[in-house]
Amino acid sequence: MRQPPPEIEAVGISKIFGALKVVDDVSLRLAPGTFHALLGENGAGKSTLVKCLMGVYQADAGVVRVDGTPMHAGSPREARRHGIGMVFQHFTLIPSMTVAENLVLARPDLPLIIDWKAEFTRLRDFLKQAPFQVDLESHIANLSAGQKQKVEILKELYLETRFLILDEPTSVLTPQEADEVLGFLRRLVEAGELSVLLITHKFREVMAFCDSVTVLRRGRFAGAGRVTALDPERMAAMMMGEAPEGRRVDKVPAKRGAALLQLHALRAMDDNGLEAVHGIDLTVHEGEIVGIAGVSGNGQKELLEVIAGQRAATSGHITVSGELHLPTRALLRKHRFFVLPEEPLRNAAVPRMSVAENIALRVFDKPPFREAGFLLNRASIVNFGRDMIQKFSVRPPQGDAPIGDLSGGNVQRAILSRELSSGEVRVLVAANPCFGLDFKAVDFIHDRLIETRNRGAAVLLVSEDLDELLEIADRIYVISGGNLVHETTPVDADLAVIGRQMAGSH
């Protein structure tokens, strides 16, 4: 029989990175056998707080108590001894190893020499009563994101975790998969075998599965309570601290123009040489925002990379106004084609180069930046950068700082200033442009996207955030398994249907 879950109490936890207090004096008490939600915006300090609980980070102040005794949180193994386990936002499975090797590797008492026969017997016995089944011999690299998430949870159950921390576990799952996984954990909690701390920013999950909730805002405690006594509006107020500003740019009524950006039977492979995009046809007209919704890992990344020129298509092509489009400088200029990829620092910036230089990446080889045919005019790059930094309120406003030193939101602003400033945008492709940004930055970016659309540009927006698409897109496609499987509009959208389509069950 499993031991009952421990009582976990964190008192006055603070964690400082550099001069930034990421977690500031947060306390948390989790009774045994509860399903507790930790709610907060991106960057509110949720992940950092639980990493302190897990011993991944050493807190700069505060103490963690397990059943009343303080824990010396030196390493995750120490926390594990107390029955605390965590499923991270990023998988902690070793891609080149099999499921069995991963499960065995996680055992804290693994002997030096592994008796695989005995291990397999134990694993099979364990799987008999497990909620989901996986093939022990398959390699992690060949599993889908949903399967990996299940293996992560199986791993925790295999380790007899009694206090399970989940860091946004559903971001890679379809709504149905998320319900399946959380529902199963909920039953274990009700059976008194497990406590769960769920990090999320999805109110739906909090309302459906959790008993109580703690809200963080900018690293500080912002409220707590029983879920039954709260509603999403109250929780949103706690998360944001102030009422979100109203939209400043209104969408003008849809005035769909001529077809502008077209993808023709586009196919592409992923990094492992498997086909990830299976022949996508898509048209975006003037003056519309077309959204592509889907769970990550269904070919969006590869599709976007093909459009951005970062990956070669295996077949198919792209046209703009019927003309073949290739990612060359000449055609990008001719078609006035701009891209806001996800993770701007990795995909759209040169971290070591200055902010001003990064802002000039599209124009440096045109006069006045180019002189005498081949010389670079550095002064004009600096001046141009200064203007853009001011116009898009990039902080800090020094153009000569390396862009890699800026915060995520400011990198995104600098890239936006490069991609959207000219006002001549005809085609704009964006992928998760608001990921990890605060409300203000999100509104700023949504406003720019709508502005661009209102000026008659074709906008393709790939996003994992369905709410974002429902809010600003004119048409929405669902991508699943590398195919566009469903088309709808925000007005007609049926969430149940979209969810099913995302899951690939049409």
Binding site: T48, Q310, P327, A330, L332, D365, R370
Partner: protein, 353 residues
């Protein structure tokens, strides 16, 4: 602040390396202070030693550029030795074929042939990395060996001068078809090629839109692709230019130093060129300074043996130590910058994770 860093840190690293080298010499039974004095004397102590230093610096200038230029585009080239050898072979072949022509024509042909051979050699290696995913480091190593095998095959086979008995070599160039010396010295005109190449390379990488494009490709390929730069073409051109420099170094060795093609082409200047490139942090102007410094070191091997009874390899040990310290100093960059920068850097990383 950044400027101060980029001067203080390399000199600090060199100083630390020299101290460790001094301890090493002391353990080997030599007086470190006298060893330093000998190094200085042999490298820079007199006009005569300056001449020795400059003769050695000329191939280093060019071999240093062979790694520095492609490094701007983000590719580590270590095939310098091979490029120098094929450059030398190209030069001697072209030279022997045009011996009947006027000397200036013969030398220009040799230079062009050497630059083409070396340039294509490295461009091939870089293209393999870009288009086929074969690391330029690995192909560079392999190509070095292939170049040396090719050289041995040629100087013992088709190009062999039958009168070269124990030390197989090609037919020699006639004296008036060799590269001239500055009058009254034994410094040949090759040093001019090196200096001019460094200055051109500096203007190219620092002051032109081409150099800016290289910097973008080297800093982040994905971004370069996003803004439509022809990354493949850029890196292959950078590789070609670097390789052309190393090939020219081979031409200088043939046309100025040896007068013929023989095994001495494979004297290790290519590998030392990698050291030069890293010591100068891939800056062409840095290459200019560092080549002379390292040239001085190379010139002092004999002196250490005569004055302190230390083997020639002492200089290789010193090079190794200096290289290790320069690499280690890379971890120090940015620590002198203001706190604010570092903090926002952490934040940016936290968001990206």
């Amino acid at each position: 602040m950044k400027r101060a860093e980029s001067i203080l840190i390399p000199f600090g690293a060199i100083a630390a390396g020299m101290i460790v080298f001094g301890i090493f010499c002391a353990l080997a039974g030599a007086n470190p202070l006298l060893v330093y004095a000998s190094l200085w004397k042999a490298g820079f102590g007199s006009w005569y030693s300056w001449q020795n230093t400059l003769v050695r610096a000329s191939p280093l200038l060019l071999c240093g550029l062979c790694t520095s230029l492609p490094a701007r585009a983000g590719i580590i080239v270590i095939g310098n030795e091979g490029a120098l050898v094929v450059g030398g072979l190209g030069a001697i072949s072209a030279g022997l074929a045009t011996l009947s022509m006027p000397p200036w024509f013969c030398l220009v042909t040799m230079g062009i042939a050497a630059m083409l051979c070396g340039g294509l050699w490295i461009a091939f290696s870089v293209a393999l990395q870009h288009y086929r995913g074969v690391s330029a480091v690995i192909s560079g190593l392999l190509l070095n060996y292939l170049a040396i095998a090719f050289m041995n095959q040629l100087i013992e086979g088709p190009l062999r001068d039958p009168s070269s008995l124990n030390n197989p070599a090609t037919y020699p160039l006639t004296p008036d078809h060799r590269l001239a010396y500055f009058s009254g010295t034994h410094v040949h005109h090759g040093i001019l090629f090196g200096v001019i190449a460094c200055l051109i390379a500096w203007i190219l990488v620092d002051r032109t839109t081409f150099g800016f494009s290289l910097k973008i490709s080297g800093g982040n390929v994905r971004t370069a692709q996003l803004v439509g730069l022809p990354v493949g073409k850029l890196v292959v051109i950078a590789g070609f230019l670097g390789g052309a420099c190393a090939g020219l170094a081979g031409m200088i060795e043939v046309a100025a130093v040896h007068g013929r093609g023989n095994e001495s082409l494979n004297a290790g200047y290519g590998y030392v060129g990698i050291l030069v490139a890293f010591l100068s942090r891939q800056s062409p102007l840095g290459v200019l300074v560092v080549s002379v410094m390292v040239g001085g070191l190379l010139a002092s091997g004999g002196m250490l043996q005569r004055a302190h009874d230390l083997p020639d390899a002492t200089i290789t040990v010193l090079q190794g130590i200096l290289f290790l310290f320069i690499l280690l100093s890379d971890t120090v960059y940015g620590r002198f910058r203001t706190r604010a920068h570092i903090n926002s850097g952490v934040k940016a990383n936290a968001v990206a994770v």
